[in-house]
């Protein structure tokens, strides 16, 4: 996983709520067996509309997506995270996220930042007024800075540590292989197997 400490970049305001993962990457894009090339499918249907914000050249190269509430609801497809990352996003800011999407993001090093809805709106306004304005997302200090706005955000210590170190969960769990084995020896005898 890509480590994340602090990131400064320009923002794209996505003024929509309930941006489900079917919108982030439609199902036809999920047939690939590789982990690359998903940036082309990002918001594929919406991007066909020339007035869609990602088609505005002013936002080219932006790395922070600032969305309405309930971003990433719906399907568990991690392809949504891959598509956002491969397109160039490092951070998504919203007042609420779908649980599975948020989980998937932190496994991949895409930082989901939860901020109150009024702050999200201010960031969207700022990005709209001046697409060149920058936002700094500091995971070490757990704060977002934009112009003279400095707002703290919450993230649990463990996830923050894992992101800052860029640690792979599986490696961490395998350190506890003994505990897993011990647990396995005590499982209820009637539990089914698939064989």
């Amino acid at each position: 996983m890509e480590a994340f400490t602090t990131h400064t970049g320009r923002a794209v305001p996505l003024r929509r709520s309930n941006v489900d993962t079917d919108q982030i990457i439609p199902a036809v894009w999920l047939k690939q067996v590789s982990r690359t090339g998903f940036e082309k499918g990002l918001f594929a249907a919406w991007r066909e509309d020339p007035s869609f914000v990602l088609n505005d050249p002013a936002y080219e190269g932006a790395t922070i997506l600032v969305s309405g509430p309930d971003f990433g609801t719906g399907s568990s497809r991690e392809h949504a995270v891959w598509a956002l990352q491969q397109y160039g996003f490092r951070v998504v800011i919203a007042s609420r996220f779908g649980d599975i999407f948020r989980n998937n993001s932190t496994k991949m090093g895409l930082l989901p930042v939860i901020l109150p809805e009024d702050v999200v709106k201010r960031l969207q306004d700022a990005a709209e007024a001046d697409p060149k304005s920058e936002i700094t997302v500091d995971l070490v200090e757990r704060q977002v800075c934009a112009g003279d706005l400095v707002v703290p955000f919450e993230i649990d210590d463990y996830t923050r540590w894992r992101l800052i170190e860029g640690l792979d969960d599986i490696g961490l769990t395998l350190r506890h292989a003994d505990a897993v084995e011990e647990y396995e020896n005590g499982r209820q005898p009637w539990l089914p197997t698939t064989v």
Partner: protein, 461 residues
């Protein structure tokens, strides 16, 4: 203080707990399908890892398979299915491929085989894994990184979600189904209402539901934002499980039932949140918008965006009406559809097909109507009862098992602008094919709609 059902099952599965870290949770059953697994297996190979418990893992082909006999014509889909076959063979995982008697939608086959049992932890790279919570299991969807994690370790690090009780008071009126109930719940609490919670559905109306109905309810927990939904096991659950291929037998059965009976929320347990729903006031429910929370009683009209006080909801409603091509104030009953779909992990079980057949018996459909059994097992059961003859006589198409029109990644799709009444779970923009418009309905409403060509409750026929 007593504990809730969710807390009991969770605690039973904690392998390791440390301050400031998520719990390491043991996973009893891992379901796999072709779409969210290839990159996970690649990851294993790259790291030189193996599957820790292939004997607790089962795979099926469901999302992108065609539902007519014959090979997969789309080369990209075919490669994905072939990749699953290669991976299953390489890592020693039981697979039910297309055409196999055990094949079907991943959330239909687990319960069908008796692999889904009370008190288990079950995961799958699919958000509707919540379905299995109908048995009193903790079951939730995971992403591909987590699929890889479970393959490698049979565990997952996770924080225990908060607990929410949804108390359904009173009995459902005649003609009102589990699907209507869950659509009404989602409309009430919203698509984000369950975020961060495991929901336990409780109350008289829930107790009276069949296992199929309970699965329909738990299936759509994710549409309210909850990762998992649960229903405490009872005699209905035990009866459903008894005699299934992977259910315990003999003395093991007795011991299991004894334990399963302890899997209920203690009377003095407290939930973090309680929501009440009056079952007696419910009527058939359908969606009018582009998320599952945008629903209303079928007897009402398309709402006007001005009805929503919250500006975010108002904007969402405006956008939804535009996408759906609907005008505020139109009676929902006047909405004409082109296609009716009965199937999916929400409503693709035998009871759903029986309900649709009862309405279609002796009638003729006026729309394109796809009846897609959720599994080959369901298909066989339906054919033994002669349901397929009823569907065919009515002019509906009787298909092979798969996800079909629930999502637009196999040949069964809507064309741009086409409108469906669908028993699936998501009415997102483009979910059933680019530009397609979806109304979520119960199997009963779907069948009645196929007969009239507009959204219709069976009582109106």
């Amino acid at each position: 203080m007593g504990r809730t059902l969710a807390e009991k099952v969770w605690e039973q599965h904690v392998v390791r707990r440390a301050d400031g870290e998520p719990d390491l949770l043991y996973i009893d059953l891992h379901l796999i399908h072709e779409v969210t697994s290839p990159q996970a297996f690649d990851g294993l190979r790259m790291a030189g890892r193996t599957v820790r418990r292939p004997d607790l893992t089962i795979a099926t082909e469901d999302h992108n398979v065609p539902t007519v006999l014959g090979p997969i014509s789309d080369p990209v889909s075919r490669t994905q299915v072939e990749t699953l076959r290669k991976n299953a063979a390489e890592f020693g995982i039981r697979l039910h491929p297309m055409g196999d008697a055990g094949q079907g939608v991943v959330h239909i086959i687990g319960p069908q085989f008796g692999l889904t049992q009370p008190g288990m932890t079950i995961v799958c790279g699919d958000s509707h894994t919540s379905t299995h919570g109908a048995f009193g299991a903790i079951a939730f969807g995971i992403g591909t990184s987590e699929v890889e994690h479970v393959l490698a370790t049979q565990t997952l690090p996770a924080y225990r979600p908060k607990t929410m009780a949804i108390e359904v008071k009173g009995e459902l009126p005649v003609g009102v189904t589990a699907k209507d109930l869950i659509l009404a719940i989602i409309a009430k609490i919203g698509t984000g209402g369950g975020q961060g919670y495991i929901v336990e559905y409780r109350g008289e109306a829930v107790r009276k539901l069949s296992m199929e109905g309970r699965m329909t309810v738990c299936n759509m927990s994710i549409e309210a934002g909850a990762r998992a939904g649960m229903i405490a096991p009872d005699e209905t659950t035990f009866e459903y499980l008894r005699g299934r291929p992977h259910a315990p037998t003999g003395e093991a059965w007795d011991r299991a039932v004894e334990y399963w009976k302890t899997l209920r929320t203690d009377d003095d347990a407290e939930f973090d949140k309680v929501v009440e729903i009056d079952a007696t006031a419910l009527t058939p429910f359908v969606t009018w918008g582009t998320n599952p929370g945008q629903g209303a009683p079928l007897g009402s009209a398309v709402p006007s965006p001005e009805q929503f006080a919250d500006p975010v909801e108002r904007a969402a409603a405006e956008r939804a009406l535009e996408y759906m091509g609907l005008t505020a104030g139109t009676p929902l009953r006047d909405i004409q559809v082109d296609t009716v779909f009965v199937g999916s992990c929400t409503n693709g079980r035998i009871e759903d097909l029986r309900a649709a057949a009862e309405i279609l018996r002796g009638r003729t459909v006026v729309t394109r109507t796809l009846i897609v059994p959720g599994s080959m097992g369901v298909k066989k059961a339906a054919e033994e009862e002669g349901l397929h003859e009823v569907f065919k006589a009515a002019g509906a198409e009787w298909r092979e098992a798969g996800c079909s029109m629930c999502l637009g990644m196999n040949p069964d799709t809507l064309k741009p602008g086409e409108r469906s009444a669908s028993t699936s779970n998501r009415n997102f923009e483009g979910r059933q094919g680019k530009g397609g418009r979806t109304h979520l309905v119960s199997p009963q409403v779907a069948a009645a709609t196929a007969v009239t060509g507009r959204l219709t409750a069976p009582a109106e026929l």
